[in-house]
Symmetry: C2
């Protein structure tokens, strides 16, 4: 099985040797490079006798209808696009394991009771357009997608133009929507992008919920001045004020995480200071803060504490802080029955499951809004992702594949 997985991993990455790809992969949304990888997915699926179709969003759907199988299909899927100089495992292992699970069942001559679909979603990463999970949003008919049609990549190409360059029509993209009746359940397998499974000495992460971000924009307005002539006691240095906010954000994440389970992560991830020249005290600083937790109340409380701290600071330093919420997505809970079935499959394979939440978003967070869904993680080396050094061992990929096969086999 490992040979087959290694070979197909290379095919999906359109390479003859993973070890040689030290610069990483560049399969951005709706590019020719993404399409080549999706075509490779189709070839592999067809070699397994699956019927493959492309929907209006460019998702490729491979379907296997074993003899006697009936009813709504059980689906497995992920994506093959990458960030710039990304890795060859984020997304890819999900479609690979789905195909691999079909192969295991076919090799073992096991006939699942339902049709099986493996879905290769188009354009999960936000790297090109700042819009993520396009294919899975289209598949659940998320209307907000249409409003994004004019967002442009760094070369000025709009997402509408990019979609149409692939021979699709952006206006028709929501025709990819599936009805609730077509799918029994949806499972995604993904690399963990962290090290918790390994630290727990487990093999497979079984996810309870996905922590979606709340994002704040904080605009700190002090007073620019000459770095040589303004006495320390008379300054309104926006960057010195921002430094206090950055530290508070970090401390708040730690406090909320130590207080109780589940954890909260809070990060000041973007900063822009103006005028940002050596001899001028920064007059304005814009900070971006990303907060995540599967506990929406804890996330809300963290945001509230940060806002209150900023107001206290504004008063203390004689500055102003303008606060806004850019994004406030509640956590997406996953289906309990599906999770229990996945956990049983992990145990039946002889592996140790680690029950955890996901801090990152994946296609499954869209699918879960419509179909009972589950998510499992396999370990990745040093927790690294979105980087050429990203790596999941073939042993771990095989484990994940066997867990999926077990799930498909037992689904009623």
């Amino acid at each position: 099985m490992q040979d087959w997985l290694n070979e197909k991993l290379q095919m999906l990455n359109v390479t003859e040797d993973m070890a040689k790809e030290t610069e990483g992969f560049n399969r951005l949304s709706y590019t020719e490079e993404e399409w080549e990888a999706i075509d490779a997915f189709q070839s592999i699926a067809e070699s397994l006798g699956m019927h493959v179709r492309m929907d209006e969003a460019g998702n490729r759907i491979a379907r296997w209808t074993p003899e006697g199988a009936a009813g709504a299909a059980v689906a497995v899927g992920s994506h093959v696009d990458t960030v710039e100089s990304g890795g060859g495992y984020d997304g890819v292992v999900g479609v690979l394991a789905g195909l691999g699970a079909v192969k295991i069942l076919q090799d073992e001559k096991v006939q699942p009771s339902r049709p099986v679909e493996v879905i290769c979603f188009a354009s999960e990463e936000s790297a090109r357009f700042g819009v993520s999970t396009v294919g899975s949003k289209a598949m659940i008919g998320a209307e907000e997608l249409l409003a994004q049609k004019d967002v442009k990549d760094k070369n000025g190409v709009s997402i509408e133009e990019a979609v149409e360059a692939r021979g699709l029509s952006f206006a028709e993209i929501l025709k990819a929507e599936r009805s609730r009746d077509e799918l029994h359940s949806f499972i995604e397998l993904h690399i963990e992008q962290g090290m918790r499974i390994e630290r727990a000495e487990a093999q497979i992460g079984v996810v309870t919920a996905i922590a979606c971000p709340t994002r704040l924009k904080l605009t700190i307005q002090g007073e620019a001045g000459h770095t040589g002539t303004a006495p320390m006691a008379e300054r309104k240095d926006a960057l010195a004020a921002a430094a206090e906010v950055i530290q508070y954000v970090e401390a708040e994440g730690r406090r909320q995480s130590e207080k109780s389970h589940p954890p909260v992560v809070a990060t000041a991830s973007t900063i822009q200071a103006l005028p940002n020249v050596m001899n001028v005290i920064p007059g304005t600083v814009e900070l971006g803060v990303d907060i995540r937790s599967v506990d929406n109340d804890k996330k809300k409380e963290a945001a509230q504490h940060i806002f209150e701290f900023c107001q206290m600071l504004a008063h203390k330093r004689g500055i102003t802080v303008e606060q806004s919420v850019l994004v406030d997505n509640p956590a997406v809970p996953l289906d309990d029955h599906v999770r229990n079935a996945l956990q049983s499959s992990v145990e039946a394979c002889g592996f140790k499951p680690y029950v955890m939440e996901s801090g990152a978003g994946h296609d499954v967070m869209n699918m879960a809004k419509k179909v009972p869904s589950g998510l499992i993680f396999i370990p990745c080396k040093d927790g690294v992702s979105h980087h050429p050094a990203e790596l999941a061992s073939v042993k771990d990929i095989e484990r994940g594949t066997r867990v999926l096969a077990g799930y498909l086999k037992n689904v009623q």
Copy 2:
């Protein structure tokens, strides 16, 4: 006198109404706009019967040789170039007051014992090329200027090309050098760019020394990671580390200033975080720190403390901090005799002097390396400079002009 000053202030600013110039002035180094203002300087000087010449760096030197005057000249000067959207007083009031002082002496039929020069230096501001005080550096024969010939403005024009577009030869620029024997002393009058004179209820600042910057570059290397998947306790967040450094820099400036006179000002003025995107923990942050004091030892100690703090922080957070000194210019002391003569002139005019150091650099800091030099400040509204709102009252300009006239009258 105030009418004359107002009229010539407008001429030097190439405007018919200072109050209408709400967008500020754009007379960048070696541009046509700077040259128009320098030509206006020449016209005013010639209307006072002065002989005007341009040197090899584009400095315009106006000379008045009263009957019976002999020996080395006594010189007064500043500049008329501005930053982008700058004010109409920084630099301009210095050349205006020099010319006004000549006019006062002429009107009063006072013959100074030495020739008088008013110098309009070319290109004091670093806004266009990142190179400051070009004209005065050339006048003291500062050879480091030649090494700057290829530095470019934001449009890709080099300083050499800009100088040559003004009909000068960059290779000849140091021929502007004056010999020590030609000048008895040099005085600059400038706006304070602070509020200390006003707070001391004085009218004229008399400067003892100029605090030149020590500039540090700190490159903080942590570890990028996903804002959703990396637990708080396992992060190496370069921006959270930078926040501690920024706060330490501010605290160090305060401590050194409160400990003893003279003050130290320390500013983290520039910051760049990488990758600076919402869902990635910053892996690298580059900070620029500007430290100034007229006490070189205190400045050195502050830089040392900042370096030590960074090393402690690197150890504490498991990150690295690369430290380098970009600039380390010692303070420039001004001449005691000249300062005493200026202070006497302030008092003889019936004004209250405020003895202070300068936190900002000016053309005089070059001239002082060669010629006994002095610097006086006049107040400016709210301490604002390098901004369209920059303003010095005509009353304050007149006071400064009278102080210069008094100095020229009594010089032996």
